[in-house]
Symmetry: D3
Subunit: 118 residues, 6 copies
C-alpha cells in the first residue's frame, strides 16, 4: 500500500462518516446498495469490480477510478484483465478517457510493485 493510498482511504472514510451522520436515510440507503452491488453473485466479485472500474472510467470520475483500481487489485484481478477492461473503456469513451487511463495505470503499477504481484 502506498502512502497516497492510505491518505485516499483516510479522507474517504472521514468524509463518508460526515455525510452519513448529517445526511438523511436516502444517503444511508444509497451507500448500502453502493456496497452490495459489488458483492459476489452470479458474476464473481472481481468481475463486478471491473464493471465498476469501466463504468467509472467512461464517466470520468477520478476518485471512483482510484477506488476501483484499488479494489480490483485487492480482488486479485490480473494485469492483462485490468488492461483489457481499460481498453473497452477507452474505445467506448474516447480520447477524453486517456488522462484517467494514464493515472489508473500508474496506480495499478505502484500497487503491483508494492504487493509483489508483478
Amino acid at each position: 500500500m502506498t502512502n497516497a493510498t492510505d491518505d485516499f482511504h483516510r479522507e474517504r472514510e472521514e468524509l463518508n462518516e460526515l455525510v452519513l451522520s448529517r445526511g438523511g436515510k436516502i444517503t444511508k440507503r444509497f451507500f448500502n446498495i453502493d456496497t452490495q452491488v459489488y458483492d459476489e453473485g452470479r458474476l464473481p466479485g472481481r468481475f463486478k469490480e471491473l464493471l465498476g472500474l469501466v463504468a467509472s472510467t467512461v464517466l470520468r470520475c477520478e476518485d471512483c477510478v482510484t477506488y476501483h483500481v484499488l479494489r480490483c487489485s485487492e480482488e486479485g484481478v490480473e494485469e492483462e484483465e485490468f488492461y483489457e477492461a481499460m481498453e473497452v473503456a477507452l474505445v467506448v469513451g474516447g480520447s477524453v478517457v486517456i488522462p484517467h487511463y494514464r493515472r489508473a495505470a500508474r496506480l495499478w503499477d505502484e500497487l503491483q510493485r508494492k504487493g509483489g504481484r508483478q
Copy 2:
C-alpha cells in the same frame, strides 16, 4: 430474432457502409478497434460484452445498449448475469439510467422468449 432486431441490424449495416465508404482512414481504423476490443482475450468474450453493455448504459447511448444486449444474448450471457451487470450500471449512473434499463430489459425478455433460452 424479432423483426425490430432485424430492422436495427439492417439500418446499422447500411449506415456503417455509408460512413466507411465516405469517411477517411480514421473512421476505418476506429471501426476496426471497436470490433477487436470485444474479442476473446484474457477476459472471456461474454464478459467483454457485459463491460461494453455497462459502459454504454452509464453513457446512455440507446443504440449502443441495444447492440450490446443483442451481443450478450448471442454470447450466452445468463439472465442473472445480465441483471447483475445492469444493476452496477444503475448504481453508478443513477436514476437517469432507468429508461435505458427498462428498454434493455424488454429487449432481453423478447430475445429470451424467441430464442427459447429463458
Copy 3:
C-alpha cells in the same frame, strides 16, 4: 391528461414491473429511494420535483424530463416557477439543453390547457 401521457405512464408501469420482477434486490431498493427522495421533507414536495426536473434536464434524459414535468404539474407548480427552473437548467447545461426545454414546454403547455390550470 393527454393520450400521449397515458401511453407514457402505461409503458413506464409495464416495464417497471418487468424490471422489478426480473432484477434483484438492488433494483428494488434503488427504485424505492428513487420514490422516497421526492417525498415532502424540509423542502416542499413541489420544490423537490423542480430539483428533479432540473437535474434530469441538464443530464438530458428525455423520459426523466417528461416524468418530472408531469409530476410538477400534478404538484401544482406554477408556470413562472416552471420556466425559471428551466432557465437555470438552460444556463448551467448550455444549448444542448434546448431540445429538451422545447419538448418540456410543449408538454407543460398541453397539461395546462387540459387541466385548466393555465
Copy 4:
C-alpha cells in the same frame, strides 16, 4: 431539402416561439447569443458551424447535430471537411458517438444529393 428537413425546421420554429413567448428574459438572451456565437468573425462562419457540429456530436445531442449538419451544408462546407470534423468527434468522444455519426452521414448524403452539391 428533404421533407424530413422541412418537418424538423417547422417543429423547431413552432416550439422556439412557444418557449420564447412563455419563458423569461434569460431565455431570450440565451437564444440571442446562441445565434450570434456562430456569426462570421475572425473565424469564418462555416468553421464555426463545424465547431458547433463537433461540440454537439461529442455531447450527443441529436437535434443539435441535425441542425448543424443542415447549417454546414448551407454554409458550403465540403464533404471532406465534414468527415474530417466528424472523425475528430469520433476519436474524442468514442464509440458512443457512432450512432450520431451514422445519422449525420445519412442526412449529409441526402442534402448533397438534393442540392446537387455531391
Copy 5:
C-alpha cells in the same frame, strides 16, 4: 469564511477579469445571464441556488459545486434543505456524484462552524 474560500474567490475573480477583458461580447453576455438567472423571481433566490447546486452536482463540476455551496450558505439555506437537495442529486446522478457530495458536505460543515450557523 475559510482561507481556502478566500483563495477560491480571489482566483475566480482574477480569471473572470482575464476572460472578460480578452473574450468577446458573447462571453460578457453569457456571464451576465449566468448571474441574472439566480436572481430572486417567482422562486426565492435560495431555491434557485439549490437548483444551481443540484445541476452542478449531477454534471460533476467541482468549482461550480464549491461556488453554489458558498452561495447557498450566504442565502441562508438550512442544513436539512442542503442535504435533501444533495440527496436528489445523488439519486439522479448515481455513485459518481459521491466524491462531489463528500467535498460539498465538508465545505458546508466548515462554513456552518465558522459562521456560527450550526
Copy 6:
C-alpha cells in the same frame, strides 16, 4: 514555455510510455489515430486543433484542454480565433464550462507572454 507546461509534458510522456508498454494493441492503435486525426488534411491542422479544443472543453476534460491550448499556440492560432472557439464551447456546453474556460485563458495568456506572440 512555462515550467508547469514542462511538467505537464514530462508526466504525460512518462505515463503514455507506461500505458503503451503494458496495454495491448488496442491501446497502441487508439493512440495512433488520436495523433493522426489532427494531421493537416482538407482542414488545416490549426483548425483541427481548435475542433479538438472545443470538443475537450464541452466534455470538460482538464488535461485534454491543457494539451489542445498548447497545441493551438504551437500551431499559430490567433488570440481572437482562440476566444471565438471557446465562446462556441461556452454556449454549447453551458456554465459548467466556465472553470475550464478560465484556466484555458490563463494558460493561453502565459503562453503568449512567454512566446512574445501577444
